[in-house]
């Protein structure tokens, strides 16, 4: 029989091969067995482990000097197209031709720039050893800017890849930053969009809310799964980057104007001033509580929506419709303080970027969003602002709108006023 014969032969061959040192018929290769291969791996692994102790979270490097242009004045005319990905610097450079004013730090003498960098390093330390030297210890405590908290916050900032978008200095120009639109926030002017303090400085709770919930419609994710204490440390570090960036911004502007005599004390003085702005934001009066307008769709709520609709569609300068054309479907682009363009929200879509909580909408309408040129509305009574809030909250949901408002906002629904 063929099979037993084959099996016998196979067994013999296997036996010869397994014997070690045997030559397999006709192939000219020698089989070797023994501890050679495992032993060879040991030095390779030892070599591999050598130098593996370094960690990017601990790596020490200085904050890089600012090289991108400072926007000193925006063009008076509205931009004609949205910001294009990967063209941030080019669009900044083109602002001057449109009537804006920019200052490139590279135009400053090298010794001045070096002096500013040295002064900032003295005052603010480095990414892995951040600090904020100030006499205002109470404010530092209040804002959570102790050296230890900043060190831990900086580690979290690197571990959770915040710098992937926001970069080391918080300039929003991280490696991935230019490939997402809207561009990541540039913290360095100390200007934020979603605040409830009545100014462009956020309260700590505003930063924590953004960290917890993320910003819908953007690449900013939610960090709700992080421990609250870690989010608090991150908020401290973002505050620190914003203060450092604003002091740097003001120093570069002052250097450009030649108005700084002694840089060291001047930087310290500026830092104290910026700290007081953050403190003022923290101590700003709280947003009033919303009135009880009943659940959406109830008669009282619908009346508020109806009143809000009348305010929204009223003409005049700085009317809502002038930017949120057709309720945001045909927006009027605007320049942001960073030189980029903002597209006013499409209010018929949900969700809005900063989550449509009533208090935050109130703050936005009452105090505007200075960073994008959304005007404040101090002329409205509190009730009127709440009416607008009710309208904005209900606009994405046709069923919550009174029939005349629904017919105006969603004419394709077939209902007529």
């Amino acid at each position: 029989m063929m099979v037993p014969a084959q099996s016998e032969r196979t067994r013999k061959e296997r036996g010869a091969s397994a014997g070690g040192g045997g030559r397999d018929a006709g192939f000219g290769w020698q089989r070797r067995r023994g501890p050679v291969c495992p032993m060879a791996i040991v030095p390779v692994l030892l070599l591999s482990f050598a130098g593996c102790q370094s960690s990017s979270e601990e790596a020490d490097y200085a904050f890089p000097s600012r090289t991108d242009a400072l926007v000193l004045r925006l063009p008076s005319q509205a931009p004609d197209q949205p910001t294009q990905p990967g063209r941030w610097e080019a669009e900044l450079a083109a602002l001057a031709a449109k009537g804006g004013q920019v200052l490139s730090p590279l135009q400053l003498p090298a010794d001045q720039r070096a002096a500013i960098d040295a002064g900032l390093r003295e005052l603010f330390g480095t990414p892995s050893r951040p600090r904020l030297v100030s006499q205002q210890s109470a404010i530092l405590e209040r804002l959570g800017l102790s050296e230890e908290r900043l060190r831990q916050g900086g580690q979290l900032y690197r571990r959770h890849r915040c710098l992937q978008c926001h970069n080391v200095t918080g300039d929003g120009r991280g490696p991935a930053g230019q490939w997402v639109i809207p561009y990541p926030r540039d913290f360095r002017q100390g200007v934020f969009k979603f605040t409830t303090s009545g100014s462009s400085k956020p309260r700590r709770q505003d930063l924590l809310r953004t960290l917890r919930e993320g910003l819908k419609g953007t690449a900013m994710p939610s960090f709700a799964l992080l421990a609250e204490a870690d989010r608090d440390l991150l908020a401290s570090y973002v505050t620190y980057l914003a203060i450092r960036g604003q002091v740097e911004f003001e120093a570069l502007v002052a250097a450009g104007q030649g108005s700084v005599a002694e840089l060291g004390p001047w930087l310290a003085h500026q830092a104290e001033g910026v700290l007081r702005q953050w403190q003022a934001a923290e101590e700003a009066p709280p947003v009033p509580s919303p009135p009880d307008d009943g659940p959406p769709g109830s008669p009282r709520h619908q009346e508020a929506v109806q009143r809000g609709f009348a305010l929204f569609t009223a003409g005049g300068e700085n009317s809502c419709q002038s930017c949120h054309g057709d309720f945001g479907r045909q927006p009027q682009l605007r320049y942001e303080v960073w030189g980029t363009t903002a597209r006013p929200a499409n209010l018929t879509e949900r969700p809005l970027k900063s989550q449509p909580q009533a208090e935050e909408l109130y703050a936005r309408i009452r105090w505007g969003i200075p960073a994008v040129g959304m005007p404040a509305h101090p002329q409205y009574s509190e009730r009127q602002v709440w009416d607008l809030v009710r309208l904005v909250q209900s606009l994405p949901f046709p069923r919550e709108l009174p029939p005349p408002v629904r017919a105006a906002v969603y004419p394709e629904s077939g209902e007529h006023p």
Binding site: R14, C52, R212, K216, A224, L225
Partner: protein, 429 residues
């Protein structure tokens, strides 16, 4: 004098165990997976994994959004998700199609039903997460009933697949691989999603696992496509066959480890992974050269893998070049690697290096399967359900293969279909 002095150490199987249409479908799925992989590599190169923190989304999501603001990262990420849906659909059809070739009615029905149940449970799971996509991650409720259904259907499917293999049914190995591939694609989709959802908890760890597991998915689908075809006879002394099997499998494992280290490196600045990725690259290069020269020395072995080995040599040469460039753009930029600027050129180098690495993994796997796949065959006379229109031989004509004599003296039909000349009865010296 007959050149084929050694009798076939592995008779192979000249008759594909799977109909031609399914074999084409399997290769189509592999092609789609390559596109998916390319888009995934672009997502990593542009660090666009979190360009949209919302997951899951519908396959047609890009058609629903307002495109007034162009965002390349967002577009790349969603293209990757769309390709994922496509590969998922193709793999589901492939797995179901493979089970439809099962000759026994009961197993055919049970296997298909189990797969349909698995798909339904997955749909439920996905749908439950879709309903909560605007919730913050900590508020998302885990869909428990769908999870139970998913695990139950998965275990049933796997059990049937293993039973099928245990019964030595023809094509059983391919059917089992089909189930595994479908499950792997499902897991891969969830890994990708949870990478987005749990970013704050796991950071890029899940992204790295997603990247490594992508190579497993690719390997499974390539294995299905290769094993679904005919298996050529191996005419080597069995000791040599065992040597080549062992060496090729070890080489494939080494290449996989090297690729996995590379995938880890793409997501982390890890000093150990950096070193091991480079060191194993030398090992892979040496391994291919060594095995290639061994194969070259044996005419019977070389004839079946000549083009594969030459192709791998070319791929290796390109890969070394791409590796150097990819290394320079990441570690030679003069800034910490996590801050290295992403430009179109740097993304192209890094993406190209990763993709060519995957190609090398496929070639290594193909070489291993070339030597191993004979072990997975069951003679065509056993458990053959029907004759395929593409010319699968009839059970009657293959009956001779089910006997030991038939294995060494195939019928004239079989001899014609064999790629190498096999002497008919009485021709042997």
């Amino acid at each position: 004098m007959n050149r084929l002095a050694p009798p076939p150490s592995d008779p192979g199987d000249p008759v594909p165990s799977v109909p031609g249409l399914l074999r084409v479908w399997a290769w189509l799925t592999v092609a789609a997976t390559c596109c998916l992989l390319a888009l995934g590599q672009l997502v990593t190169s542009f660090q666009a994994g979190m360009a949209d923190p919302i997951w899951p989304t519908e396959p047609w999501y890009l058609l629903l959004i307002d495109w007034q603001e162009p965002s390349p990262g967002y577009l790349i990420e969603h293209s990757h998700r769309i390709a994922g849906f496509l590969v998922g659909g193709l793999t589901a059809v492939l797995a179901l199609g493979l089970w439809w070739t099962q000759p026994q009615r009961f197993l055919r029905g049970a296997g298909s039903a189990a797969l349909l149940l698995l798909l339904a449970a997955y749909g439920q799971f996905h749908g439950a997460l879709m309903a909560q996509r605007h919730a913050t991650p900590e508020a998302v409720q885990w869909p428990r009933s769908a999870t139970v259904g998913l695990v139950f259907a998965g275990l049933i499917s796997l059990g049937l697949g293993l039973w099928d293999v245990g019964r030595r049914q023809r094509g059983a190995a391919v059917r089992l691989l089909g189930i595994l591939a479908l499950m792997a694609v499902m897991i891969q989709g969830l890994l990708g999603g949870f990478r987005v959802l749990w970013d704050a908890l796991a950071g890029t760890n899940l992204a790295a696992i997603h990247g490594v597991f992508a190579q497993c998915v690719l390997g499974l689908l390539v294995s299905v496509a290769l094993l679904a075809g005919a298996v050529p006879a191996q005419r080597l002394p069995s000791g040599s066959l065992a040597f080549f099997r062992r060496s090729a499998v070890l080489l494939a494992v080494l290449v996989f480890v090297q690729i996995a280290l590379g995938a880890w490196l793409r997501h982390h600045v890890n000093p150990l992974a950096q070193r091991l990725h480079v060191l194993t690259a030398f090992a892979v290069l040496g391994g291919w050269v060594w095995l290639g020269t061994r194969l070259r020395a044996v005419r019977e072995a070389w004839s079946g893998v000549k083009y594969l080995v030459i192709g791998a040599g070319l791929v290796l040469a390109v890969q070394v070049y791409l590796g150097v460039e990819a290394w320079l753009v990441r570690y030679g930029a003069g800034v910490p690697p996590e801050l290295a600027p992403i430009t179109l050129a740097s993304a192209a180098w890094r993406t190209g290096h990763a993709l060519v690495g995957s190609l090398l993994w496929v070639l290594s796997l193909a070489l291993a399967l070339h030597w191993v796949r004979g072990m997975t065959t069951v003679p065509a006379g056993i458990g053959t359900r029907r004759v395929s229109p593409e010319g699968m031989a009839s059970p009657e004509s293959l009956e001779s293969r089910s006997s030991p004599e038939g294995a060494s003296r195939p019928s004239p039909e079989l001899r014609r279909s064999l790629s190498v000349a096999v002497p008919a009865a009485g021709e042997e010296e």
